[in-house]
Amino acid sequence: MSHAATEQHDVVIVGGGGAGLRAAIAIAEENPAFSVACVSKVYPMRSHTVTAEGGAAGVIKPSDSLEDHIYDTISGADWLADQDAVEYFVHRAPEEMVQLEHWGCPWSRMPDGSVAVRPFGGMKIERTWFAADKTGFHMLHSLFQTTLKYGNIVRYDEHFATKLLLDDAGRCRGCAAIELRTGTVRAVLGRSVIICTGGAGKAFPFTTNGAIKTGDGMAMAYRAGVALKDMEFIQYHPTGLPGTGILITEASRGEGGILVNKDGRRYLEDYDLGEALDVSDPRHPQKRAMELGPRDKLSQCFVKEMWAGRTIRTKDGEVVHLDLRHLGEAKIDRRIPFVRELARNYAGIDPVHQPIPVRPVVHYVMGGIDVNSESATDIAGLYAAGECACVSINGANRLGSNSLTELLVFGAQAGRNAARFAMENPDLELGGLESQARDEGERIRRAYFSAGARRAGSADGGGASERIAVLRNELHEAMEDGAGIYRNQESLEKTCDKIAELKERYANVSLDDHTNSFNTELTAALELSSLLDVAETIAHSGRERTESRGSHQRLDHPDRDDDDFLAHSLAFRTEDGGAPRIEYRPVTITKWPPGARTYGADSGLKREAEGSGTGGPSAADGNTE
């Protein structure tokens, strides 16, 4: 780790995924004289937004209403979402979606040239915009390519941020980041900072998340004193490919795919999710019912089927079948070609002729860095947006296709607010910040490269040497065993204890690689340290929440408890870096008091009359791209 080089900008963004790039453009537009730094550990177009398949929600069609999108989101969240934030989100969504269209996103279209929308789980009306089934890919590339237009967006590609830099007044002024090519630690400084580092699915073994989703930004904010909110809420997507965890998008069910158990039964109808209409019935697929129920419920149904012995055994574990055959080759190729490609390549299955084996897979972290409805944290000058942040619009269960829209709406909002903060708050002293970055470089060198760290790794060095992969695998096992789809006090306590043990053993981690240039073993070690902190907040927040809500299901506390837990959990780092302190903050309720969460026949609740029986997707068949 060579000494720190300092770079100065107006706003620093950590993360070059959908949220980070949207924020960057918002700042460049808000103040063209501003210099915007975008720090990313991978080239922006490698960010995990690229893998999103199904689509992005936004009310655009006359048959839809903002009110319905709000209600679907709040009920989908099991009332843990802040309703003021949800209202803002739903109102801003259409404009953001159109903006992305103007920036070139190749949305699938209707014959009249308007954008096409498809149904998605937990959504009462079809409102999910899509670019075939590569929506995230097209969104990310459109955003990235648009940033190339702005000379004032300065990219720090392949820079790994390790620490937030706060000045003496407690204001966030930038980050320390390792330039991978050289191993140099830089201080990237600005007058405000936005964290957009994405999720942390890699805390679990079986996940749709790529290698880079290790919760680094969450850990950085947590270590700087910001709470991590609602971390116990982890989304399992019901349809991942066994073995690899590769996602088969919900759009495959939006297009009419069905889930069956080993007896060929559409088992979801046994769990209050509605009636299994024949696939030839024009009302199939029914919105907010059966296969288009919300993800938490569908994943829970899988486990119950497994317990009842009605799932299918394969060499990669228990599965159910996602059957798309009735859609026919033409529709599959037109609407969900990537599903066919993935199933063929990675499962050896052609969905045109065979059902796809699927099982629940860790997909998304509902919780994240505690921000208010303006995307601001409690630290002056520090903002967060995207999957790493918790506003919260996702509450106890995110609806599919709300996340991509969230990146746009809150990425833009965070960008504007961080830009305004920077305009209102002039520069302060730099000195302390530079030396902090130097200290950070020194800390990393000592911890991973010093003679002591090397000795830990050698045979005669006291024997306590730990390999990254071993610790990571034990963490994975502990999370899956104790903090999976169904949890209880005992399982969570065990996981908490195990994580404490792993954190201790982490001190003895030793690397094979003590060189500077492109040291990806070092970054893997830093990522593991992020995961340990994030996992600890998940397990402890889960242990403290003695109720069941959305994705957090406690076998020992099976009911929702609004008296005690209509509240966000806030996990604060404690002084000694041990177990977090958990506090609670009430959920903001504006117009929608907590109600029963129903899907299937009475899914519409008070709005039952509308939309029921309207049948297939509005972008029905044949006509869209």
Binding site: T51, Q99, Q145, G245, L247, D316, F518, T520
Partner: protein, 274 residues
């Protein structure tokens, strides 16, 4: 808030099974990986290093490299993220062919050794990692964004585009920037300034987009790339492209468009005509 204990099982999903990233070998067989090694701080010359890896039918080459890094040699350096063929990070030469290592299955090489090298036609940073600087500059050069005055005015709703208009450029918008086509292209190797297949296909993607008004601006850049005219339509780029972008086809179309444009500019004063 009570915290009584419950005895029910926590319903583990996925216990003890093979998952990507922490793979478990299924049998005793092994396969040899010969990895290209080069470290700028310590090596004067690149070399190859062999590793025995447990053979698993379901593994891709990337899984085997990750297994080596995790369990045998943490100094092995490569890029990857999605493991589903869409982030574009993991392109390498495998037995001399440019491929996505997350989409190249060991079973198509077994029982023979697999030789893995960094993509050719790029400077090597370290081991299997190449420098992307030049590639990124080329992407930027073709102005790959919507050019029109009202691009930030959302008040009129979406710009209309029919499915047929979308189909005109859709294929060229599928590029994941994996750079395999640059490793396959005979011109890229010789002409440093050549924008190359992916960048030209990207420029062409915007030129063909009915919503865009920036064609002439973009064509100025593309046509001034003399090497584009030198592209002899070998078509290797389209053969190796994992996303069927057909950059060779895009270049041919761009050339035809360019010849037309050139002709118009020559016989008509600027601004006249379409």
């Amino acid at each position: 808030m009570s915290k009584e204990r419950a005895s029910a099982s926590a319903g583990r999903v996925g216990s003890g099974e093979q998952v990507a990233g922490s793979p478990v070998a299924t049998d005793e067989r092994t396969i040899t990986l010969e990895l290209f090694r080069y470290h700028p701080e310590t090596d004067a010359e690149p070399r190859f290093q062999s590793y025995e890896v447990p053979y698993n039918e379901d593994w891709v080459v990337l899984d085997a490299i990750n297994w080596i890094k995790d369990h045998v040699d943490g100094t092995v350096t490569h890029r990857w993220s999605c493991r589903m063929g869409v982030c574009g990070s993991c392109g390498m030469m495998v037995n001399g062919e440019p491929v996505l290592t997350c989409a190249a299955f060991l079973k198509s090489y077994f029982p023979f050794a697999v030789r893995v090298e960094p993509l050719v036609n790029f400077p090597v940073e370290r081991d299997l990692v190449v420098s992307m600087d030049g590639f990124m500059d080329k992407l930027e050069a073709v102005k790959p964004y919507m050019i029109r005055d009202d691009v930030n005015d959302t008040s009129g709703g979406e710009f209309r585009q029919s499915p047929a208009e979308l189909a005109k450029y859709k294929q060229f918008s599928m590029c994941i920037n994996c750079m395999l086509c640059y490793a396959a292209c005979p011109v890229v190797g010789h002409e440093e300034g050549f924008l190359g297949p992916a960048a030209l296909a990207l420029g062409h993607r915007y030129n063909k987009d009915s919503r865009d008004h920036g064609r002439s601006e973009r064509m100025d850049v593309m046509l001034s790339d003399e090497a584009m005219w030198g592209c002899t339509f070998v078509g290797e780029c389209s053969v190796v492209c994992p996303k069927h972008v057909d950059p060779a086809g895009a270049i041919q179309q761009a050339k035809a468009m360019g010849a037309q444009e050139y002709f118009k500019a020559f016989v008509m004063p600027k601004g006249a005509g379409a």
